[in-house]
């Protein structure tokens, strides 16, 4: 596996916000600092991506920087400049406008790197497509992006869609909500006041057969910040020593079979269904 470096993207124009998104304070420090602090312990080296006219900017000046060496619009400029500076490393890329992001989301991303994929990314909770700006880009993906840009298309998301990208289900609800407007900022601040760091939902679980016996209960109410049932099952499996891998189970949400990717909402009724043995 290639070395993993971190790249915090802070070169955006923040037009819709009306003020520099890197400087916004959600966590008692500028958001750029918060993003740097969560990424840097997870990577060998960590940089902030800036435009040439931003190098001396007070919010950005204190960090190791990679200055755009590619003259194109959008986040591809930062990605390709990083790749030119260090062509043999993989990049954990993170936009600095994701204040809801939790460390677990990044750790999960890193844990799921595979030699057979050129990138690892999360599926958007909003449209199901890959989120390119909280993702791991292997050198092969950046080479492909370089070629795509030469062909006149600068969209990093399009590159991930058209490449062998490992797509992960959302790890924590709302973690990748990017905050672009003053209204969204207000909402994010409100959600962050919840001490768990993400919107908490209450679920009702019902267990049957072997799972009921191992859990020691038929019904259970629990609060969680997980976005989907996958990580919830992993947590319960550890707690109760359930013998089944998630791939052997089906799940029912609100009384009918449901895909494992179905977004959870407050009040959902969940049943994990072990291999059936009727007849």
């Amino acid at each position: 596996m290639r070395p993993l470096y971190g790249l915090i993207l802070a070169g955006g124009a923040s037009k819709r916000m009306g003020t520099d998104k890197a400087a916004l304070d959600y966590h008692g420090k500028p958001q750029l600092q918060a993003a740097f602090d969560v990424v840097s312990p997870l990577v060998e080296k960590c940089f902030v991506s800036v435009r040439p006219d931003q190098t001396g900017n007070p919010v950005r000046a204190a960090f190791p920087q990679i200055v755009d060496s590619v003259d194109i619009d959008g986040p591809a400029a930062g990605l390709l400049s990083a790749h030119q500076a260090y062509p043999d490393v993989a990049w954990l890329v993170l936009a600095c406008d994701l204040p809801m992001l939790d460390r677990g989301t990044l750790e999960n991303l890193i844990a799921r790197r595979e030699a057979t994929n050129v990138a690892v990314a999360y599926r958007s909770e909003h449209d199901g497509l890959p989120e390119p700006l909280c993702a791991i880009w292997e050198p092969e993906a950046l080479e492909r992006l370089e070629q795509q840009v030469l062909d006149g298309r600068t969209c990093p998301r399009k590159l991930l869609i058209n490449s062998p990208t490992k797509l992960l289900e959302p790890y924590a609800r709302g973690a990748l909500d990017n905050i672009n407007t003053p209204e969204e900022r207000e909402d994010a601040t409100r959600r962050l006041e919840n001490p768990t760091g993400g919107p908490m939902i209450r679920l009702k679980l019902e267990y049957f057969a072997q799972l009921r016996e191992l859990a020691g209960t038929r019904e259970q109410t629990l609060e969680t910040t997980f976005a989907t049932v996958g990580p919830l099952y992993e947590e319960l499996r550890e707690t109760y020593a359930f013998p089944f891998e998630a791939s052997k189970l089906r799940v029912a949400i609100n009384g009918d079979f449901a895909p494992w990717t179905q977004p959870l909402k407050d009040g959902d009724h969940i049943v994990f269904i072990p291999p059936v043995t009727g007849g």
Partner: protein
Amino acid sequence: MAAAPVDLTLLREDLHLAEAGGFCTFEGWVRNRNDGRPVDGLEYESYEALAQLEGERIVAEALERFEISEAVAMHRTGSLKVGEVAVWIGVSAPHRDAAFRACRYIIDEIKHRVPVWKKEHYLDGDAEWVACHHCQTAPRASETDAHDHDHGQCGHHHH
């Protein structure tokens, strides 16, 4: 889904239609041994609401797929002794071939899809939830059909 024994002659009555030239049943019974261990009885637990819903879907699929007149399926829950009827499928049809095939389809799909779990009580006093054994069994009728659709689990994908 039935928590107590059901009068099978009543189930049969629903199938006895004028257009039907015959009917075919499958009864699943509790047998006295499994994997070489003497069995005293079984306990079936279900997720009842979903078991009912999925069972109704399977019967509706059978009515759609085969030239049959009527189909009925019953599955027991609770404690059953050796020899008791655990599952009952009945299909009537104008002609026998469709009745046999639909009957096979319904029992196969029930075994793969309906959320019911079986705990075996052995003569030595021990009891165990029966492990999934779909993967080793013969393919379902639906899997040999031309338009296969997989609702299974146990190594099949669940998306």
